[in-house]
């Protein structure tokens, strides 16, 4: 059945190693959260500070891009090479991004409103 699996109890050493590894990983996630909060603050701050829009717009788009990559690869576990079908998933996601970019390009340049 689909829910069946071979369950083998981990050795005590392996169990302790896994728990430690999980805790270390969780600490990294909290650091990633702090980075994302910082990037959000930065994005709002540069807009409030009222610099030239030619400078601000690319900067806040770049900050959003960095945040999204952090979300995808750390919170959504796309960095986990052992995850099931992760290669297929990465291919789908990045093709999705290419399609999204094409839609933007078409709507903002080729289609005339």
């Amino acid at each position: 059945m689909g829910h069946d699996t071979q369950v083998q109890a981990r050795s005590k050493k392996q169990y302790e190693y896994d728990r430690h590894h999980n805790a270390v990983h969780m600490r990294k996630q909290v650091i990633n959260f702090a980075i994302m909060i910082f990037l959000t603050f930065l994005a709002f701050a540069v807009v409030v500070a009222d610099f030239s829009t030619y400078y601000i717009k690319p900067l806040i788009l770049l900050l959003a891009g960095i945040q999204v990559v952090i979300q995808l690869y750390s919170y959504m576990h796309m960095d986990d090479k052992k995850a099931s079908h992760i290669g297929v998933i990465s291919t789908f996601v990045w093709f999705g991004v290419v399609i999204a970019f094409t839609v933007f390009l078409a709507f903002l340049t080729i289609i005339w409103w």
Binding site: M1, G2, H3, D4, T5, V7, Q8, A9, R10, K12, Y15, D18, R19, N22, H25, M26, Q29, V30, F33, M36, I37, T40, A43, F44, V47, V48, T53, K57, I60, L61, L63, A64, Q67, V68, Q71, L72, Y75, M76, H77, K82, A83, S84, H85, V88, I89, F92, V93, F95, G96, V97, I99, A100, F101, V103, F104, A106, F107, L108, I111, W113
Partner: protein, 207 residues
């Protein structure tokens, strides 16, 4: 497998992908998310091309309409709810069901806070005369932000169903992938919001 009693030591290190069903759910939620990326691409592109466009003499523009403090609080709520669902998954890996339920509940509370602010914001706009049919700009804005809001509602209902349905069951390899898929979906909602606060609110205020 549903009825197997686990101990923290016999609980697999990757419970969400220990079964074939779990592996399939993992790939399934991602393929759904990829199709959702293209959905949001189209509503984002529509919004950007119709921004500030409407009938002659239209008095509403993004620069006058949007308020940054509200968008900032909403962003913080959603970003924090992403972290709390990461905590839930951390406890899932350690076979701590109580931790999973508590952190998922906190995620739901933060999501509800976000949703309340969004409803307040929409009510405020409609009350001021900026309704869905007011202009091309208003239709595009409500469609984009509303589609995201709908995803939040679906995510909240989904997670609440999981919390209540599994409350008496405890953690097993049948429901672990379900929690995991819901958490991935919740992160995706946050990913979309990052673009909404940047493209709609921040760039809107810039004019």
């Amino acid at each position: 497998m549903e009825h197997t009693k686990f101990t923290p030591q016999s609980w697999p290190d990757k419970p969400e992908q220990a079964t074939m069903e779990g592996k399939n759910k993992f790939v399934g939620i991602w393929i759904f998310i990829c199709s959702d990326i293209t959905l949001f691409a189209s509503v984002f592109a529509t919004y950007l091309s119709l921004k500030d466009k409407g009938p002659a003499g239209m008095e509403y523009s993004a620069a006058e309409l949007f308020e940054l403090p509200l968008a900032f609080v909403m962003t913080m709520l959603l970003l924090t709810s992403s972290l709390t669902s990461v905590y839930a998954m951390y406890h899932m890996k350690n076979y701590n069901f109580k931790g999973v339920q508590i952190w998922m509940s906190i995620t739901v509370l933060l999501g509800l806070g976000f949703l309340a602010l969004e409803i307040y914001e929409f009510y405020h706009y409609v009350h001021d005369g900026f309704g869905y049919t007011q202009s091309a700009f208003s239709s595009a804005f409500f469609t984009l932000v509303g589609t995201h809001g709908l995803h939040v509602v679906i995510g909240l209902v989904w997670i609440l169903c999981l919390i209540f349905r599994n409350a008496g069951r405890g953690l097993n390899l049948y429901n672990a992938p379900k929690y995991y898929a819901a958490s991935i979906f919740w992160h995706f909602i946050d990913v979309v919001w990052v673009f909404i606060f940047t493209v709609v609110y921040l760039m809107g205020v810039l004019g």
